[in-house]
Amino acid sequence: MISLVQNELMKLLGKRRFMIIAAIIVVLLSLFTYAQSRQSEAVKERLGDVDWRTELQQRIVDWQNRLSSAGQWKDQLQIQIQQYQYYLDHDVNPSEPGAPTFIRGFVENSAELFLPLLVMIVAVDLVSSERSMGTIKLLLTRPVSRFKVLLSKYIALILSVSLIIFLFGLLSFLISAVMFGNQGWSAPVLTGFSVQGGELNIAGVRLVSQSRYILQQFGLAWFISLVVGTLSFMLSILMRSSAAGMGTMLACLISGAILSSMVSSWESAKYLFMVNLGLMDYMSGSAPPVEGMTLGFSLAVLAVWMLGALAVSFTVFMRKDIY
């Protein structure tokens, strides 16, 4: 079994998939860190020597003024204001500069779309490429059961997801540490916000060190990527062409991003997997797409989708006639 997984990894390496992924990460990271450093310079210039507390206070006032004209965003804005107020009251700088802060923001923004996209590069042709190359005929006429063949591929996928997340973390640490300096790992971050009936519930709020917060973020990012990877894996079995699988999965991810901002009154949309991919929002305390969704709920929905996709994958793969 282990050697079968090694086979799969050898093929992925042979296709230079991980090099492509690493290159994409490096290019994007360089762009973002540069943009970030330009932005903080601009902010510094504009504010001069203004204390961050004053700035935060200013932002809260800004938002309060905007409240009356915010329309459907009103609830969300109010929650954000409350959260900032909490930071201010407890004397916690929400944007302590340094590599960890950058990584925190970067992971938060890439977990929903960017990381799953990278995983798709690997997952979407894991089976369909064997089919289009014709090598599947050799693979399935060996004295190895189809179940084992597919299982070795899936294990290779899990390892690839882990490797991609690790690469992502490592590269973003290296690049941002060079750009912003390696400080602020133990800075406190607030987490545990929950939203109930449009109200920010701060009963569960606690302070954790930034490093621990980032670790949790990476855990969630890993899970999101694994779910998207598993779904792509299923598509790669169901569809002959990798391009069709890629397109379908992309459409799902993008529709998820769009839906999340407009389904607040469509209750049953919360059972769609793509609406549940915003796990990061639960950590930072933004309002969920549909009222009443919690981190536990989203994890459960994603897990059910993932298990369903696995069941479909294995059933179809083991029965399918190969022409």
């Binding site: 042979g14 014709g134 005929k137 006429t141 004295p143």
Partner: protein, 303 residues
């Protein structure tokens, strides 16, 4: 141990309402090369895919060395090596890595065995290169090396000479004969070329529209269908003498076609010469696959 290495019984495949394969049954023995002959679309490839476990039969059983592939798939497959259609290998890996990849999927293949098959197919010089740089002939050879890795008892090759140049075809034929005669393998090859099968195989099954219409030794099959084309001078006299000796099947301008008989052909020639006929040409002619089909199916055209 029995001599039967592959036995197929009542094999049937139905897709939707169409019956693709109708109750095929045959048995292959150790050390023989068995040909699967039929036009494109006759069901050769579908049958082969069922034999190697890529397609599940609707009914019937397939046994490789006595092991039913639907019940003991992995055990049965360890006795089988195959190439289905083109020898598709991973183009982004080297030949050696391709072999290692497939060796891992068989149990207990040593590095020495890999070297051995590489030498057997004469690929030592290029085995470290990427498969994407190989010619079709080299891919074919690497495909065979891959199929032989596990020392199979049965080797199944789908159109093994497809796309090879004449010298490649000759080499492949010799190699297949070698495997059957020296190594005692059972080799099943499919082809749509009668000529091909005639030069390679001991026995042949002719398949049309999903049915085996005849299984026989190549010798029997051909000798009953072989023709002799004569060019005689003077033509009219020659024709009447020949007509008294055997059946005249057809006449063309300047030539006469009769059945071929190894035993009698020399005698006919002597009698013609004695009657004062000059025999300009005696030409033994293999039936074309088309003719053979027309003959066997009773005028049913290939479609």
């Amino acid at each position: 141990m029995s001599d039967i290495t592959l036995s197929v019984n009542g094999l049937r495949k139905v897709i939707g309402k169409r019956v693709i394969i109708k109750d095929l049954s045959f048995e292959l023995k150790r050390g023989e090369v068995f040909g699967f002959l039929g036009p494109n679309g006759a069901g050769k490839t579908t049958t082969i895919r069922m034999l190697v476990g890529l397609i599940k039969p609707t009914a019937g059983s397939i046994r490789i060395c006595g092991l039913d592939i639907s019940k003991q798939f992995t055990k049965a497959m360890s006795h089988l090596g195959c190439i289905v259609e083109n020898p598709e290998l991973y183009p982004f890996l080297s030949g050696l890595h391709n072999l290692r990849h497939f060796a891992v999927m068989l149990s207990g293949i040593s590095h020495e065995r890999i070297d051995e098959v590489v030498r057997l197919v004469g690929m030592q010089d290029r085995i470290q290169d990427k498969v994407s740089t190989y010619s079709l002939g080299m891919r074919q050879r690497l495909g065979i090396a891959q199929a032989l890795l596990g020392k199979p008892d049965v080797l199944i090759l789908d159109e093994p000479t497809n796309g090879l140049d004449p010298s490649g075809i000759r080499e492949m034929r010799a190699f297949i004969r070698f495997l059957a005669e020296e190594e005692g393998l059972t080799v099943l090859v499919s082809s749509h070329l009668l000529h091909e099968i005639q030069l390679m195989c001991d026995r042949v099954a002719i398949i049309s529209k999903g049915e085996i219409i005849r299984i026989d030794t190549v010798h029997e099959l051909l000798s009953s269908e072989e023709r002799l084309v004569w060019r005689l001078q003077p033509e009219a006299l020659g024709k009447s003498v020949l007509g008294g000796l055997t059946e005249i099947l057809s006449e063309d301008e300047g030539s006469v076609t009769t059945p071929y008989s190894e035993r009698l052909a020399g005698e006919w020639n002597r009698l013609l010469v004695e009657a004062g006929v000059r025999v300009l040409e005696m030409n033994r002619k293999l039936p074309a696959l088309e003719d053979l089909f027309l003959e066997l199916t009773g005028g049913e055209a290939i479609d």
